[in-house]
Amino acid sequence: MKVAEKTKFIQPGTLIGKRIPKMDAPEKASGKTRYIHDIDLPGQLYGKILRSERVHARIKHIDTAAAKALPGVHAVITAADIVDQRPIGVAKDHLPLKTDKVRSLRDEVAAVAAESEQIALAALRLIKVEYEDLPILTDPAEAIKPGATLIHPEPRQPGGQDALKPSGPVAFTGKPDNIAMRFDYCHGDVVQAEAESDAVVEDTFKLHYVTHCCMGVSGMIADFDSSGNLLMYSNTQVPFLHKREFAEYLNMDPGRIRIIQPAIGGGFGSKLDIYPFEVICVFLARAAKRPVKLVFTREEEFISSPTRQPVLLTLRSGCKRDGSLTFRTVHTLHDNGAYTSWGATTPFVMMQTFSSLYRVPNCDYHTVAVYTNNPYAGSFRGYGNLQATFAVEAHMDKLAEAIGMDTLEFRLKNAQEQGEVSGQGMEFDSCGFKECLTTAAERSDFRRKFAENVKNRNAPGAIKRGVGIASMLHVGGGAKIYPSDGCGTILKLDDFGQVTLITGASEIGQGSETVLSQLVCEELGLPMSALTVVNNDTAITPWDVGVHASRTTFIAGNSALGAARLAKAKVLAAAARKFECPAEELDLRGGYVIKAASGEALIDLPRLMRNLHFSDKAELVMTTFYYEPPSSYQDKRYKGNVSAAYAWASQVVEVEVDTETGIVKMTKITAAHDVGRVLNRLGIEGQIEGGIVMGQGYALTESLIIENGVMRNPSFRDYKLVTAPEIPEIDISFIETMDGEGPQGAKGVGEAPAICVAAATANAIYNATGVRICGLPFTPERVYRALHGKGEKLYLAPEKAA
């Protein structure tokens, strides 16, 4: 006897804004995640790189005979062995294995593949390199002077005359000067504006070297199959760009290159470029005809990873007595290091902050990036914005003080609003900037504390309290800098109602697979457990430009949503046929097809999927979608709406400054972020807390100490990350502006939280002590010196002085 099933009604619910644990958390917390270190291929060899012992020198001779003779060594390579080497990097000025010269201490001179790491290391010690030292150039201000030692000189004849200039990239043709890149931007007329200003201030700021400190160090495995196809296990953040570029460097058909990403132990921008070690690992695999694994030691990670861009920056700003900003003029000198990576291109982002964070009718921006023998700078969360914001927000305080205006009022008066188009052509379709400012200020009781602290500056006692505010603007809807800023998705529903989300977007620890799954589940009315994500294999996943520019939730989210909507339409159409009703009356919820009006369950999804599949007109539900944001390329003058949405934030930092030791203790950070909409509350809180702590490290403790081209502190003992007891109380408010283009209204926030911490801290120290410190980080000694009139003298960025 068949019992009639009870009619079931499914209650509406949503996943959006809920606290969803990261899908990879159980594996990571239990130590089961397989990182590159955990992967071993049969027959695999271990690669090690011999790096330069000199900062700048001619390579006279390399003797690898003894290394080659060591039992267990399968390949020893130098530039001489790789006849077809091509330069890598943004400016094509960097050969993976150095030919005639080393230009910095990290430079790769030779490499070994051996049966164990120990043997490979022993072999490195057997390689003898003869150097002839060249003059060392480590001061960027010296590097731009005429007559300076050239880092990439044009080749010369033995007689000294100019050689016939070879054609091709910088690595082969050299350069007549040390200038790697220049950026010049302007809107309005700063000269006229200055004449009309009531207050003008100028300062030079010095932003230092820091590095990413990913817990997972760099590494890869290269493996050629017997048909010559190359498989790379790689930690890259940009697998699809990598594939094309590797093909170029290796002179291979890109179709024969496949990249699989194991779990990545952090990226933060460090894995956005191709580095010599990656190309060398492939060379070794090719030479040894065996898979080769090359993983950095921690010291190597410090010494040979790119850094955040160090910058010397002179800013001149003005305003009227009524508090309206009149102009900004910026000159920066970027220390490029010996080779060009993404660091040199940070002006793309820096100029946005100068031109568009606040409404400024006239803006002039100039950068020169110069070669030196220092470590080279790459991309790093915030991409120049920490440096720019540090300067801009110092001047917001200074100008307000100069005209006697409340510092918050001054900011509110100049803050961008929804609907505005900035001087640089950025269109702010959603903008919660003012709300960020007022929320952060109110929740921290900023105004009262600010006034009280100024009054107490000269009160007795060594400890002074300070409060400072700073804000930031960053792309939050991708950044159109490549032929496409898009992402593809393939969505597959199986016979059991399980969904496989195949996305081009990589997971580098930021929680993207969780948030993408959430968007799909929301659309298909499924629990998170119904989702499997495939996101790490270029042979399977559709194209994506990569993890950068805080773009994944926005771009890959919209792409996943697009695919899910197509799948939903297909499922509902099938259900409509089955139940003979219009599809519009149906919906998906709780794993069922329901009547939208009543919530009555009609059929569970697995059953419907099987009905569709195992029928005469067998059908699978598999959809694809490619999302391209409606942003535009900048024109030649760097103007244009480069992102489909913009993120805003204001942060208030509270400090206690011990004037007898210089110790700055952060006691509280109140952050208000315009995130469009909160998708995964747990994820976004983690992202913002983590970013704030990274910003705290930039502000207070982290510094790569480079002296004469030598890194003095390549270890966690002397490179000081913030530890748990130093992390202040963090109060986060989310401003939900529901961006019209964002997935469910969300905008990107990946980089945002790290950007204005240092700027707000500088303002807080000033509020506490009346002393403005223009160099970072605020280590006890730097602060103590500044408080006792022994601060660093900062000179104008030379271009400006000239």
């Binding site: 007898e660 030791t661 210089g662 403790t701 000694e781 006792h788």
Partner: protein, 289 residues
């Protein structure tokens, strides 16, 4: 990397002393928290024989022994921190342990290792100096195990260098039981509250009566080639009433007495400033005690 030819793990002090007597080519391994990073970093070459001393019972334990507290060379920082004896009689050592590295390191790091490593910044050394600690050295020169004692203040001769002979093993440290009104405090200045090497450190001790310290002991870390006692500062402090002028004067003497260097952690100038300002702060506390 070193080619270690022999690994030994003696189970008695006598055996260990015998290995040392037989060959100068022995590296002693206790917790390994200095030895490992130093040999990995190429700053130290492990000798032909590596001798693990962790199985020697005579080197363990914390006990009262003839009016003194004896801390075995193998006592770990964690053991010291948890010892009721130390809490009761030598709380200044707890203060030092509390700023020492991380839990993981504290579980492995030994007091003997800290003393024999003889870093000017070794955290236990400054408090031990102001407690008038003695080192107990064991060796087996002519068939019999002998021990000698040496004041810790005479033990250090340079960075990483001590008066321990290659044939000697540090067996333990002895600290006289402090009398009534004993006062002893330690301050470590690092750039962050946890996991840091001292930029400077200060120990102050003595018998506190009517706001003055007698038998005053002052020691400084990370401001000279060795962790140093500061006799001139002690003299300036001895039995003086700690009014503001005296405190300022003592702090001034302290600043002049230290001879720090510039390194990645701080400049010599800043270290001197810290010695002055923090000595002053600590003496303010003494005055209020």
């Amino acid at each position: 990397m070193t080619e270690i030819e022999q690994y030994v793990a003696p189970s008695s002090l006598e055996q260990a002393a015998e290995y040392l007597q037989r060959s100068g080519e022995v590296t002693i391994l206790a917790g390994g928290t200095d030895l490992m990073p130093q040999s990995q970093g190429g700053r130290l070459k492990i000798k032909r024989t590596l001798m693990n001393i962790q199985h020697i019972p005579e080197l363990k334990g914390i006990a009262i022994d003839g009016g003194a507290i004896r801390i075995g060379a193998l006592a770990t920082i964690t053991e010291i921190m948890q010892s009721e004896l130390i809490k009761k009689h030598l709380p200044i050592l707890i203060e030092a342990c509390d700023h020492f590295a991380s839990d993981q390191i504290r579980n492995a790091a030994t007091l003997g290792g800290n003393v024999c490593n003889a870093s000017p910044a070794g955290d236990m050394l400054v408090p031990l100096l102001v407690l008038d600690a003695e080192v107990e050295l064991a060796s087996k020169p002519d068939g019999g195990l002998t021990r000698r004692r040496l004041p810790l203040s005479e033990f250090f001769v340079g960075p990483g260098k001590t008066r321990r002979a290659p044939s000697e093993l540090l067996a333990g440290l002895r600290i006289g039981l402090p009398g009534a009104h004993h006062y002893a405090r330690f301050f470590k200045f690092g750039t962050r509250p946890a996991l840091d090497i001292a930029t400077i450190s200060i120990g102050i001790a003595g018998t506190l009566n009517n706001g003055a310290l007698s038998s005053a002991r002052v020691a400084f870390g990370a401001v000279a080639p060795v962790p140093m006692r500061a006799p001139r500062t002690e003299q300036a402090l001895e039995a003086r009433r700690l009014d503001a002028a005296t405190i300022e004067a003592v702090a001034g003497v302290a600043r002049d007495e230290v001879t720090p260097i510039d390194d990645v952690r701080a400049s010599a100038w800043y270290r001197k400033e810290l010695i002055h300002n923090i000595t002053k702060r600590m003496l303010d506390h003494v005055a209020q005690a």
